[in-house]
């Protein structure tokens, strides 16, 4: 059979696939992203609405213990060394201009406005967020979440709402601990090890830090709390819907995705919130 090479036929032929396929894939990816964004917004809205239902108090306390109290040691450790390295680096930069007296200001504002909320959120994501995804994902794969539904227990109320509530409470508190310990770390490296005047260090902190700096830091912490719990719970809750893997591997991939997406979103949200608050 002779192929039809007429101009009319050529215009009806599909475009070259290697040219269109990348765009189609990109489009599919974008659609999926928008789909997930909508679904996760509904997911977290429902979870927040169900925080105030009966029988939630003890479950929220339990999650506060796991997410909040359990994270205190690691937050203190990271806060201490962040403050120390910040004090060390800042001292060597400031000393070139003879402004080492401003060390307290630099350490305190950096920690309270930026590093405290961001690093605290990232550390909680690594420690508690990954555990949330793995635990909920495992419950999903082994039909425990379906079992809740058959027992007429709302899985969102039972599993997600207490975690969201506990995160919203514990993120600002942990951020505050991080800030205080970080300032102590700066004091250790700047004052004790490098010889900056202790009175100057503390006076500069008191003089430069406003209440707005602290509240802005807490606002960020709350935004990060919502982002981290939404992403981590959502990834675990829908681990069975993954198309790239099943079973235990799906839990692993969901956990990785939860941590990566949370960290990226924390940094993006940090910029957006800072630009709105500044």
């Amino acid at each position: 059979m002779t192929p039809d090479t007429s101009p009319e036929h050529a215009s009806r032929r599909p475009p070259v696939r290697w040219l269109t396929d990348p765009f189609a894939a990109l489009g599919r990816r974008a659609m999926r992203w928008v789909d997930n964004l909508g679904a996760s917004t509904i997911f977290v809205s429902l979870a927040v609405a169900k925080i105030f239902r009966p029988r939630q108090f003890m479950k929220i306390l339990e999650q506060l213990w796991l997410i909040g109290a359990g994270s205190v040691p690691i937050i203190m450790l990271v806060g201490l060394f962040t403050g120390m390295v910040l004090g060390l680096q800042s001292y060597h930069a400031l000393v070139k201009f003879g402004s080492q007296g401003a060390l307290g200001t630099l350490v305190a504002l950096s920690l309270i406005r930026e590093l405290g909320p961001v690093l605290t959120a990232i550390m909680i994501t690594a420690r508690a967020g990954s555990a949330i995804t793995a635990e909920i994902g495992s419950q999903r794969i082994s039909e425990q979440i379906d079992a809740l539904g058959t027992m007429r227990i709302d899985p969102l109320r039972y599993l997600i709402s207490p975690r969201v509530a506990a995160s919203i409470i514990s993120f600002p508190l942990l951020t505050a601990i991080f800030d205080v310990i970080g300032i102590i770390g700066g004091y250790i490296s700047g004052v004790i090890l490098l010889g900056v005047n202790a009175g100057t260090y503390l006076y500069r902190i008191e003089a430069s830090v406003d209440l707005k700096d602290v509240t802005d830091g807490f606002v960020k912490a709350i935004v990060f709390a919502v982002i981290v719990t939404t992403v981590c719970c959502y990834q675990g809750y829908f681990a069975h819907m993954r198309t790239d893997s099943y079973g235990a591997r799906a839990i692993g991939r969901s956990t990785t995705a939860a941590v990566v997406i949370s960290c990226v979103l924390i940094l993006i949200a940090d910029y957006v919130v800072t630009s709105l608050l500044i």
């Binding site: 039909e143 058959t150 007429r152």
Partner: protein
């Protein structure tokens, strides 16, 4: 006929391009045990998950007491579901697993919850495992925990997804017996997905056969025996071959085939005898010593019956949950009476084995209850031109007590 409790009308379900259910129509009636049978991977679990609302049909309607399921709030559906894989919460103890639905869906006080949970756990012989985690107990015990959790809220409908998977023959029958007993006691509607053919017939009021994405049969187990369809050849007969595990006796279908074969070949002679043996008191044994003990007794007597009568050319079947039927070819009534008397005499030796099982069960359950199992036997003479079912019915009418097995209570020296 009564209004169905649950009704499927032209229900279809697809997963991507794969159609699992296609225009399925079925009815489930209140306070009955309905069993869905079919090959693995044919959509039985999918069908069950539609009833509980875990899946929604792509087409068609599911009615609950005549109202579409989607118009009923889930919390108003008095249903429980027992998952094939149990779906126990692995970070909770056995007690916490069973207590969870009561704690989360009722306003009962702690003491009342504890009382109800412990009652269920004791019924399921799980009192020793209260503080253990699911990973610390056997598969059979996990199954019973799942059953306890499904029943603790006293639901009106309980859906069982292959409740006997992975169990040994005695335990399988113990679980089926447990379901039957609780269904009678609490009066719930039970829907089972099971492969345990023919054992599951004994506890079922209705059978639904799922084949080729559709329900090809709905009716009683007796009607199912006369059902002619490729489903029988592919599914039932293949499963039956594997299901003589408990007693080693013929299935009812195999029994009938052998009967017809001997009848046609003249091996039954001019007259034959039918003996019907019924065990009474199995529920009592199950209640006091556990379902395992009752099934062990049933198994032990069934094996002995098959061996005893098999040696003289007879063949037997388990006809119902507590009834055995034996055909003695070319035997008149007087001869049959002698053979049965001899069997009853020999049974005395078998009694000790059953008493030993019970003594072990007594120790396990820390029970000092003394139970009694009564065996009734009835004989009838059959002729080649007579229907076997009517001969069995006559033998049943002629039943009288031939043996009593009573456990020894060491505590009071009885």
């Amino acid at each position: 006929m009564a209004t169905p409790l649950i009704e499927f009308k032209d229900v279809s379900k697809r997963f991507n391009d794969k159609t699992v259910l296609e225009r399925v129509n079925l009815q489930i009636y209140e306070r009955e045990v309905t069993t869905i049978i079919g090959l693995s991977g044919t959509g039985k679990t999918v069908l069950l998950k539609h009833i509980i609302g875990l899946l929604k049909p792509d087409e068609g309607t599911i009615l609950f007491r005549g109202t579409p399921l989607e118009k009923i709030r889930r919390r108003d559906l008095p249903m429980s579901y027992m998952f094939q894989g149990n779906a126990l919460f692995d970070s909770m103890t056995v007690y916490e697993n069973v207590a969870l639905p009561l704690e989360e869906t009722t306003n009962l006080g702690r003491a009342e919850i504890r009382r109800r949970v412990m009652a269920r756990l004791e019924q399921m012989e799980l009192a020793d495992a209260v503080h253990k985690y699911p990973s610390e107990i056997s598969g059979g015990m996990q199954k019973r925990v799942a059953l306890a959790r499904a029943l603790v809220t006293d639901p009106q409908i309980v859906l069982f997804d292959e409740p006997t998977t992975g169990q040994d023959p005695v335990r399988k029958n113990a679980i089926l017996g447990m379901i039957a007993q609780y269904q009678r006691t609490f009066g719930f509607t039970a829907v089972l997905v099971s492969h345990e053919i023919p054992d599951v017939y004994f506890i079922s009021n209705r059978i639904l056969a799922l084949y080729g994405k559709r329900i090809v049969f709905q009716g009683t187990p007796e009607e199912f025996e006369d059902f002619e369809h490729p489903f029988k050849e592919e599914v039932v007969h293949s499963l039956e071959g594997l299901q003589r595990e408990l007693t080693g006796l013929h299935s009812r279908r195999q029994f009938k085939i052998r009967y017809q074969g001997q009848l046609r070949g003249g091996a039954l002679g001019d007259s034959y005898a039918v003996a019907v043996f019924t065990l009474e008191g199995l529920d009592d044994v199950a209640a006091h010593l556990g379902h395992d003990a009752s099934q062990e007794a049933l198994r032990s007597l069934g094996v002995f019956l098959g061996r005893h009568f098999g040696a003289i050319g007879g063949f037997s079947t388990r006809h119902s949950i507590n009834e055995y039927v034996t055909v003695l070819p070319s035997t008149d009534r007087a001869e049959a009476e002698g053979i049965v008397a001899e069997y009853v005499h020999d049974l005395q030796a078998q009694e000790q084995a059953i008493l030993d099982i019970w003594a072990a069960a007594q120790k396990r359950s820390r029970s000092d209850a003394c139970v009694e199992l009564t065996m009734l036997a009835g004989l009838a003479q059959g002729r080649p031109d007579e229907d076997i079912d009517s001969v069995i019915a006559r033998a049943r009418q002629a039943q009288q007590v031939v043996s009593r097995i009573r456990c020894i209570n060491e505590g009071d020296g009885k």
